[in-house]
Amino acid sequence: MAHGPAKGFSRWLYTTNHKDIGSMYLWFSFAMFFLGGIFALVIRAELFQPGMQIVDPNFFNQMTTMHGLVMVFGAVMPAFVGLANWMVPMMIGAPDMALPRMNNWSFWILPFAFAMLASTLFMEGGAPNFGWTFYAPLSTTYAPASVTFFIFAVHIMGASSIMGSINIIATILNMRAPGMTLMKMPLFVWTWLITAYLLIAVMPVLAGVVTMMLMDIHFGTSFFDAAGGGDPVLFQHVFWFFGHPEVYIMILPAFGVVSAIIPTFARKPLFGYSSMVYATASIAFLSFIVWAHHMFTVGIPLLGELFFMYATMLIAVPTGVKVFNWVTTMWKGAMTFETPMLFSIAFVILFTIGGFSGLMLAIAPVDFQYHDTYFVVAHFHYVLVPGAIFSITAAVYYWLPKWCGKMYDETLGKTHFWLAFAGLNITFFPMHFSGLAYMPRRIPDYNVAFANWNMISSVGAFLFGAAQVLFLYIIIRTIVSGKKATDQVWEGATGLEWSVPSPAPYHTFSTPPEVK
């Protein structure tokens, strides 16, 4: 009993074990992924053809808002925290996270935050309907009453993220095995270390901005109300000071995942390890000085506009370095294409396409045409879906045999990949076209000129959704009846996590390993 988990529900409620908590994070984020996906399918069903058929415009706005919030805060971020919980201690040879009780707490407040957020759908006046960016004064003076619950939910999510980040930083800086110097850490650990600092820097900013909203709504202040001497644009500056680092929070750990997988299946060390670390750090730094590129049309003075344009274009440099390093890692390797590798290669290609549209969006004069159109929707879905979601999926296939000791079905895995790959491109590639053909985003109904692209996008979305149901089936089947996995699992895998048995014992590295 002393070294095994408790039985029943209390195991999960009281656990301080990083593997248990990691699993809970991952399952929770998977549930949120489906919830956010259902919201997306409501959107795509309504947009299948012109005219209003299924929902009313107000509910449509609730769907776009909730889809964004649930996917960003409920699916992507907790999934990466789950991966960090499982993998960071095992990768650095630590027995557990540095602050196990806080770890339990940072997970367990999340389900309450999202239950509260989801419950707004059933409140009088409906759920938040002002977009996941919740620009004031639409989200303050003109918001439904449920905005207060939204604010509280965001506070809780922020607290959870901050605690999670402190824990990750404390673990990485204090609990590395002897010999594991910083520049020997796997890149996933590095990217999470940097991400955790980003989170600690910007989540309080988000908490601040929602608190100012709360004050405006309930306590008569006018932070964002022009009629009271406030400034609606201030909201956007504060929001995007959080929001831009936030998008890198959702992609840096993905870089780490892919940097682990590509070398394994190319059977060749990662090319340019130290330049990858420096590139990650540069991206993190730049993320703090580019926020106003989300606001090129708000009327920033010319000099400000130029500064943010140049700074944004600069991000292409370290990002390019990463892509070139991955391609060079593949070069002259001996590659095999198991499911994690397929997802990782798709990540590199499709994320780069998202990077290209990002570069186009960085050019301020042209951004006047792209801003708030479907071109932007295409752009950020190309970085988030094949970026964050594909890398999380790749990570699950890659480490699942280590987590549960059983191997997934390769044929089913590859089927999942091709369905998801096709679904994603059919959904989001046409959005470039409808956006350039000037379809604004966040509209529930549209002119017939956009009908063809929208119909194609909707078909793709349902295909993508179906592919994720297959993913769920594959995972359950693996856990229930997968074939026994070896300890090494992958021929080319290197790193401490592969030196422990499969499935990984409840406690690993109680005695620290020696790293040469």
Binding site: P50, G51, P57, N58, N61, E124, G125, N129, L138, Y142, P144, A145, A226, D231, P232, V233, A266, K268, P269, F271, G272, Y273, T297, G299, M309, M313, L314, A316, V317, V321, F324, T329, M330, W331, K332, G333, A334, M335, T336, F337, I349, T352, I353, F356, M360, I363, P365, V366, Q369, D372, H432, F433, A437, Y438, R442, D445, N447, V448, A449, A451
Partner: protein, 374 residues
């Protein structure tokens, strides 16, 4: 460099020349538009796109070659090289140089967009939930521009939509050719964004701010656009229509608009019967109020209060006028947008319809007096 993309622009122009009003259901690219700004923007867009394509071909090409040649099934042995400072420097410096090459034309184009000096005509564009207001500064002309009734009727209908569905309005903005027009963009309630793609003008309309944008169109034409910033329920239903006409036509159109305003002022002096007011009031209600308070006056619980049994519609007339004319509690003011006759009619209608049966009448002159007394 500019000349390169101007030439490619001319080529593309010849290849696709779309007529403004014609619908192309497979349109996949940005419009090149009709102003020097929009054409520069289009050229820049294509220039960057081509650079991305070239980089894409090189990077993805290398990946695919590698995926073909360097696979284990071909019996290759993996090399173990993993570092090259020289390579890292190359792919840091070369992209940086390409970016500098992009920054020059981008800066030039941006400076042109920001040059709002020496405008010959100022139009104040005000975003409201969910319509646009255009005021011709110093011309005594101001009006609202709503989604056309034709489009509204099609939203929930199963019939085929017309080509200009959701892109047509009741009162289009009219501007003269060959004139530098400056738009002073602001908003009355939440943030909107005024966007006409063919003019390459997009500016956020923000309460408390006046943003500047400009255009100069040389040929007469008809252009459409939409609100680009989420502004609430009917964000998708507040299009923009711009008619560009010759300066002579523009002057006579201004004259007509002034005459209309005079006629409205004249009508406000008349007295109407309750039946006349109720008839007009229902039309006004369905056009302006029903979107939120619903056609049956029941509202939407938690979002929009009901008119039926409303303490305002069944309370003091002065407070009722105040709410309709000046707005409040999330409701936009209608005093500027409705004529005194319309305001009087809709207030009378709300006090007597949906079982409210107050039996009182508000005349246009009451509205005028109320507004003057403010």
């Amino acid at each position: 460099m500019l000349s390169i993309f101007k030439r490619s622009l001319a080529l593309l122009l010849a290849a696709s020349l779309p007529v403004a009003a014609e619908i192309d259901p497979w349109q996949y690219n940005l419009t090149e538009g009709v102003t020097s700004v929009s054409q520069n923007v289009y050229g820049l867009h294509m220039f960057i796109f081509y650079i991305c394509c070239i980089i894409g071909v090189i990077v993805f090409g290398a990946m695919f070659v590698s995926m073909y040649l360097h696979r284990k099934s071909r019996g290759v042995e993996a090399s173990q090289f993993h570092e090259s400072v020289k390579l890292e420097l190359v792919w840091t410096i070369v992209p940086a140089l390409i970016l500098i090459g992009m920054a020059f034309p981008a800066t030039k184009s941006l400076m042109e967009i920001y040059d709002t000096d020496n405008a010959e005509l100022d139009i104040i564009v005000t975003g409201h939930q969910w319509k646009w207001q255009y005021e011709y500064r110093g011309e005594g002309v101001s009006f609202f521009s709503n989604l056309s009734q034709k489009s509204k009727d099609q939203i929930y209908s199963a019939d085929a939509k017309s080509d200009d569905y959701l892109l047509d309005v009741d009162n289009p903005l009219v501007i003269p050719t060959g004139t530098k027009v400056r738009f002073l963009v602001t908003a009355a309630d939440v943030i909107h964004s005024w966007w006409v793609p063919e003019l390459a003008v997009k500016r956020d309309a923000i309460p408390g701010y006046i943003n500047e944008a400009w255009t100069k169109v040389d040929e007469p034409g008809h252009f459409v656009g939409q609100c680009a910033e989420l502004c609430g329920k009917d964000h998708g239903f507040m299009p923009i229509e711009v008619k560009v006409v010759s300066p002579e036509e523009f002057e006579s159109w201004l004259g007509e608009k002034r005459a209309e305003a005079a006629a409205i002022a004249e009508a406000a002096k008349q007295t109407f019967t309750i039946d006349q007011l109720l008839e007009e009031g229902k039309v006004v209600y369905d056009t302006y109020c029903a979107a939120c308070h619903q056609a049956n006056g029941q509202g939407v619980p938690g979002a929009f209060p009901a008119i039926a049994g409303s303490p305002i519609a069944m309370g003091d007339v002065g407070l009722h006028m105040d709410r309709v004319l000046n707005g409040g509690v999330g409701m936009p003011p209608f005093g500027e947008q409705l004529t005194p006759v319309q305001s009087a009619a809709v207030i009378t209608y709300q006090r007597n319809a949906f079982g409210n049966n107050m039996g009182d009448i508000v005349q246009p002159v009451d509205v005028v007096q109320y507004q003057q007394g403010q």
